[in-house]
């Protein structure tokens, strides 16, 4: 490391010693490195170096599209290609990524490593479901291609594998044809969480994109109220003649003081949001507004101040029923807890073939919490509930989950570990998150 530098994820906590090596030649800079990092949009410590191994490769300059077949939609790209480029260049031509997360500032490599999901999970699954091939630099230095037919285990362990099975160099996946670059959608006010489960379920059959904003501050009769959004690509006359022009956002120029977000401001925001979002009949929607509302504020993570924040995202199986969801909401709205005003509820479809991929059939919540003395305790108790219900958390968001909780949530962990050990027996590939949550040490020798 040439400079005393630090790295942090989107939540800006933790901040660890580390630096990135950047080059257009990703295959070269990944040699001997413990991890490759994309745009650093995972919230916690997924993209951060493990202690004592501070230099990670950065994929962001390796951003070329290597092939696009307009007949099949198959696109091959270097891992650092940002989603924002695909969105800007391909949507006006009638193509879109099969799955998008809530920000366009991610790389395709990161989309594979986190196996991101979006509003269409109930219908189309995760991004990994549409990936056909990966080119990787594995721990022993070789470059290996893997897919569902070639080195299948490596492929399954890499999709959602948080970059811990090898450096993702190139990604091949299928883009999808869209009927127009505009969306057509409607919104509906929802009074409580039970109703949410019902409207999400009902919308799933007819709408490819569904998600809800849920009030995670209000208690009592307003517990779990919110607004449900559903959309599909606009068709024929529904769409304006011109393609959507990118929305001009603004940049949050500096950290806001840590007290900016408190129970009172969160309450006021939630009240205003609820009141200003009545049930609305179907109309045309700008894709920026539906897919990437927070991208309009560059550096919105500065709202939480210097101490940073974490996002807690979990999925609770449908079989748990509304009682478990109510208990969850009671815990996050408890006095003393400050949840952010931006909470998302979504129903997930069945789990995919990525061995550490997050979604499984159930209801998912995503809630931001500032990093405070109470945050660890809150997440421990939320994890107790999630473990009890047979749910799990999303690694790309996580900072506070404990190793034993994670092991209890992940029945697939043993299989993932055994594949990972085949490809990296010496445990060279590591991250701050893997040190915290996973045991990636060298394969133990025989009995002593």
């Amino acid at each position: 490391m040439k400079r005393a530098e630090t790295l942090a994820g989107w939540g800006r906590s933790p901040v660890v010693p580390g630096c990135e090596v950047r080059s257009e030649d990703l295959p070269r800079i990944t040699v001997g490195r413990p991890l490759t990092r994309g745009l650093g949009r995972s919230y916690g410590d997924s993209s951060l170096p493990a202690a004592g191994d501070p230099v990670v490769a950065s994929a962001v300059l390796a951003d070329r599209i290597l092939a696009f077949d307009p007949d099949s939609g198959t696109l091959r790209a270097e891992a650092g290609l940002p989603l924002s480029d695909l969105y800007r260049l391909f949507l006006p031509r009638g193509w879109f990524v099969p799955v998008t997360p809530g920000t366009q500032f991610v790389t395709v490599g990161g989309m594979v490593a986190s196996d991101i999901h979006g509003g269409n999970h109930h219908r189309d699954g995760c991004f990994g479901a549409h990936v056909t091939e990966l080119r990787m630099r594995v721990a022993d230095g070789r470059i290996v291609d893997c897919s569902r037919t070639e080195e299948r285990d490596l492929f399954r362990a890499t999709v959602g594998g948080m970059g811990l099975t090898g450096h993702i160099l190139e990604v091949t996946f299928r883009m999808v044809r869209v009927s127009s670059p505009w969306l057509w959608g409607e919104s509906e006010r929802v009074r409580n969480v039970g109703e949410f489960v019902e409207v999400l379920g009902r919308a799933a059959a007819d709408w490819p994109f569904t998600k809800g904003w849920i009030d995670c501050v209000s208690r009592g009769k307003n517990l779990g109220r919110g607004v449900m959004f559903r959309a599909r690509w606009a068709q024929g006359a529904e769409a304006p003649a011109k393609p959507p022009t990118p929305k001009k956002g603004f940049t949050l120029p500096m950290n806001l003081p840590s007290w900016t977000l408190n129970r009172l401001t969160a309450r006021v925001f939630n009240g205003l949001y609820y009141q200003t979002h009545p049930t609305r009949p179907a109309s045309v929607i700008h894709p920026d507004v539906f897919f990437y509302p927070l991208d309009a504020i560059r550096h919105w993570n500065r709202v939480y101040g210097k101490k940073g924040f974490t996002q807690y995202q979990c999925v609770i199986p449908h079989s748990s029923g509304p009682r478990a969801l109510t208990r969850f909401l009671e815990m996050v709205t408890r006095p003393g807890v400050v949840a952010s005003p931006v909470c998302v509820i979504k129903d997930c479809g069945p789990e995919g073939d990525g061995l550490l991929s997050f979604p499984k059939s159930g209801i998912s919540f995503a809630i931001d919490f500032p990093v405070r003395p109470w945050t660890q305790g809150l997440i421990d108790s939320l994890n107790d509930l999630v473990v009890g219900e047979g749910g799990r958390i999303y690694l790309a968001k996580d900072t506070f989950t404990r190793r034993d909780h994670f092991a209890k949530m992940e029945p697939r962990l043993a299989e993932w570990q055994s594949i990972r050990r085949q490809w990296d027996p010496e445990g060279r590939l590591r991250s701050a998150q893997s040190e915290r949550l996973l045991d990636l040490g060298p394969t133990k020798g025989g009995s002593p």
Binding site: R3, E24, D25, R64, I65, L66, A67, L89
Partner: protein
């Protein structure tokens, strides 16, 4: 426009080629590594929505002047004409390394000054033979003043900037527009590992300014723009001050 770019596979050249291709210019790429050139050509085609193979490539290495004429001839043939030649390629090394390695210093001086000028001369002849054209070459703010961290690199770029200025004076009336781009510190693979100073720029912002300069035929362009002001101050500093500071 029909544009040849030497150095489009990386950094500012990559960003510039993308902007030109996305807005509809026809491109031909020159560079050292055929495999890398072909990957960049496919990237540009996919971004601009053009059929595979429509962006041509040929090998051209600034260390091998005998290849300049054939490479430009291939480009001219591939494009069916030639309006603009862009040179973003060049070598960079820190002053420390150049002082320690005489051979490296000789190579850098040859590539960044003598051979770049030889390439430009070949491009000049071809553009003038067609009656008009634009030659856009990336020099550097490092050539503005003799400075401690860039004694050798800066000297090569100073020579290049002077050459481009003279060319512009002599041939503009005949239809050759010469554009000398002087980037400040830009975050690319070339500057990787260097301490990032204030006012560092991004390749795409530089590319946006250069596209405008090509369209207008602006003879000198600082990018990002703030570096024009910074270098104005640096040029005005008395010698004894320059000797004291480390900049």
């Amino acid at each position: 426009m029909k544009i040849v770019v030497l150095g489009a596979t990386k950094g500012m050249g990559r960003a510039l080629a993308r902007r030109l291709c996305e807005r509809g210019d026809a491109l031909f790429l020159l560079g050292r590594d055929p495999e890398d050139l072909s990957r960049s050509a496919r990237d540009l085609e996919a971004r601009a929505g053009r059929p595979a193979g429509s962006v041509g490539t040929a090998v051209c290495d600034l260390e091998r002047p005998e290849g300049f004429a054939p490479a430009l001839a291939a480009a001219e043939a591939g494009l069916g004409g030639l309006d603009t030649v862009v040179v973003t390629a060049g070598l960079f090394e820190t002053q420390e390394r150049l002082e320690a390695d005489a051979e490296l210093a000789r190579r850098l001086l040859t590539v960044d000054f003598a051979n770049t000028v030889v390439f430009c001369e070949e491009a000049r002849r071809r553009l003038l033979a067609r009656g008009a054209g634009t030659l856009c070459v990336f020099s550097s703010v490092a050539g503005e003043r003799g400075r401690k961290p860039v004694v050798l690199y800066g000297a090569a770029k100073a020579g290049l900037s002077r050459y481009l200025e003279g060319l512009d004076h002599k041939f503009r009336a005949q239809g050759l527009r010469t554009i000398c781009v002087k980037p400040g510190f830009v975050r690319t693979g070339m500057t990787e590992g260097l301490k990032t100073p204030p006012f560092a720029g991004e390749p795409d912002a530089v590319a946006a300014r250069v596209v405008k300069a090509i369209d207008r035929g602006q003879p000198v362009v600082y990018a990002p723009g703030i570096w024009g002001l910074i270098m104005l101050v640096i040029r005005l500093l008395p010698r004894f001050v320059m000797r004291k500071i480390g900049f």
